[in-house]
């Protein structure tokens, strides 16, 4: 059974989540192929061909794919589906947007955000914000799957020697066009790929406090900045920083939760982090029940102290 993974990229770089999806695809058994769709994305295809475990890269390179829309990407996948037993993508906003469109066209019930492969037709996926894990068996002959990237160790970025095969673009019927994109310019690592994440909650009290107290520490640690839904709802942080059920899932080596009470919807998005640090002045906050290291303190005192300690490299090392 051949398996096809939809690559995610920004026009230049293959997004790391793609390699997590490739790792999940490899567990399904068959040869793994990668579909790269875009315009002038030869470099992305080269990067895909180098990923360990990929046998073939299909490259649909065409001006119509300069901006990737579900309406243009889905017909390519449905056109290729006949040759594949399973179609996968990372459960990013790109994958979540495109894949159900493919599944419905194929009359397949998609399996969203799998976090484990039990067998080629049986998967584990979180439901109720991760408060329960459902083991589901698909009765569809062909599987359409999105993958929770943090649940799978990524395939190695090198070692593969896949052939790159150009394919023709597919026609699209829907009348839709791209207008503009406004991406947050940031030197920091991507939230879902960062090895350290520092997140603020409602306790931050303002957007200014995020930049005054959280961001300097993030920059020193090389960390990504996250936020709880409460902080996003209150306007303290942009929505694409949101960690949790309705935002992003992260599983960094170190997750620092500042002024976050630890609602179950937030825990759903960061509970798989290796080490969790909680800084909160409320010692009964639920976040302390999952934290490896808890500091009961006023964040407006603790964060400047932390920043100062990080200013003095090595003074604390043993």
């Amino acid at each position: 059974m051949n398996v096809l993974v939809l690559a995610e990229h920004d026009g230049h770089v293959l997004k790391p989540a793609t390699r997590n999806a490739v790792a999940a695809a490899a567990l399904l058994g068959g040869p793994v192929h990668l579909l790269v769709v875009g315009y002038d994305v030869g470099a992305v295809a080269e990067a895909g061909a180098a990923v360990a475990g990929i046998e073939k890269v299909l490259l649909a390179d065409d001006p119509r794919y300069a901006h990737l829309l579900a309406e243009t990407v889905a017909p390519l996948l449905t056109g290729l589906a006949e040759d594949y037993g399973a179609l996968l993508a990372a459960a990013t906003t790109f994958g979540k947007n495109a894949l159900p469109r493919v599944a419905a066209t194929l009359d397949v019930q998609q399996i969203s955000e799998i976090c484990a492969v039990v067998s080629p037709d049986t998967f584990v996926r979180p439901i109720y914000a991760g408060n329960a894990l459902a083991t589901v068996q698909s009765k569809d002959a062909r599987k359409v799957i999105t993958v929770r990237a943090t649940a799978f160790e990524p395939a190695a970025p090198s070692g593969g020697m896949a052939t790159i095969v150009p394919i023709a673009p597919a026609p699209t019927a829907a009348d839709v066009f791209f207008v503009r994109q406004a991406l947050t310019a940031s030197e920091r690592p991507e939230l879902t790929a960062a090895s350290i994440v520092i997140s603020g909650g409602r306790g931050m009290q303002s957007a200014e406090n995020f930049s005054t107290y959280i961001e300097p520490i993030a920059d020193k640690l090389g960390a990504a900045v996250g936020a709880s839904r409460a902080a996003v709802d209150a306007g303290y942080a942009p929505n694409d920083w949101q960690v949790g059920q309705t935002g992003k899932n992260v599983a960094p080596q170190l997750y620092i939760a500042v002024g976050i009470s630890g609602a179950i919807q937030h825990l759903a998005g960061m509970g798989e982090s290796k080490i969790i640090v909680a800084i909160n002045k409320d010692e009964d906050a639920p976040i302390f029940q999952v934290a490896d290291y808890g500091l009961v303190a006023d964040l407006f005192q603790a964060l400047p102290e932390l920043n100062a300690v990080l200013n003095r490299p090595n003074t604390n090392s043993h």
């Binding site: 579900a70 906003t93 979180p126 439901i127 914000a129 894990l133 009765k139 829907a174 406004a182 932390l306």
Partner: protein, 249 residues
């Protein structure tokens, strides 16, 4: 122009979810149910379009058991003009829901169908996209802004890393993200008024669709519990632990 809004009855956001002892699912007995929060945002958006004179009629649709009438009453109290319940006691998965909504769209000819981006019970995030595919319509998912004019919908979407704006020809499907709007609360006069609005119940079987679940739930488990660690007295102790014990900085 007519707008269709899909509304799902789900376990309330604030209920602590418990997995059943026999691992067949989660406990639903004696549990509070409410409108899926993203669907409330969908209702609000449709009602605002009506108030702005862009939409002339808002039809709320739900699929589920008889009890789902309650969430439709909520939708009517928030400003929807009429409601349709497609009644079924079986499990309806996103593909089946999309098929039902397509059948209703063919009957109702809406120019806009607004749905929540995901339901907070199965967290699938599929139905809107599937419905758009089945209808052959464009889709504007995870919307944080919606502008309807000149036969098109300009949708600003929440994507990883920022925002993207797309222009869709109507009819189109839009799914809501959190920041699209802040839903209003229903007041008593509107709750009373809702009781007199048109309300249709259609047995799902009457639609003649293949609604059988394709995913069989073999078991449901509680997630592994994370153990609480230690409290540290101050920042210096915290940094020391992170450097020497956890070795993560």
């Amino acid at each position: 122009m007519r707008a269709l809004v899909a509304v799902k009855r789900v376990i309330d956001y604030n209920v602590k979810i418990r997995v059943k002892a026999d691992q067949s699912g989660v406990e639903t007995a004696n549990v509070k149910f409410s409108v899926n929060p993203f669907d409330e945002i969908a209702i609000e958006e449709a009602v605002r379009l009506k108030e702005a004179g862009i939409v002339s009629e808002v039809v709320a649709v739900s699929i589920g058991p008889s009890e789902a009438q309650e969430v439709l009453r909520s939708a009517l109290a928030l400003g929807a003009d009429s409601a349709i319940l497609v009644e079924t006691n079986g499990e309806t998965q996103p593909l089946a829901v999309a098929k039902i909504l397509k059948a209703l769209a063919v009957r109702q000819s809406p120019q806009l169908i607004i749905l929540g981006k995901q339901a907070i019970d199965d967290d699938s995030n599929q139905t809107g996209q599937m419905l758009a595919a089945l209808l052959g319509w464009p889709q504007g998912t995870f919307a944080s802004k919606l502008v309807v004019k000149d036969g098109r919908a300009e949708v600003t979407r929440e994507i990883d890393g920022g925002l993207e704006t797309v222009s869709l020809a109507l009819p189109a499907v839009v799914t809501t993200d959190l920041r699209l709007n802040e839903p209003r609360y229903a007041n008593l006069p509107n709750i009373m008024k809702a009781k007199r609005k048109p309300f249709e119940i259609i047995p799902a079987a009457d639609l003649g669709l293949d609604l059988a679940p394709r995913l069989i739930t073999l078991r449901v488990d509680a997630p592994p519990k994370r153990q609480a660690g230690v409290k540290v007295p101050d920042v210096a102790a915290l940094v020391d632990k992170l450097k020497t014990e956890a070795k993560v900085i």
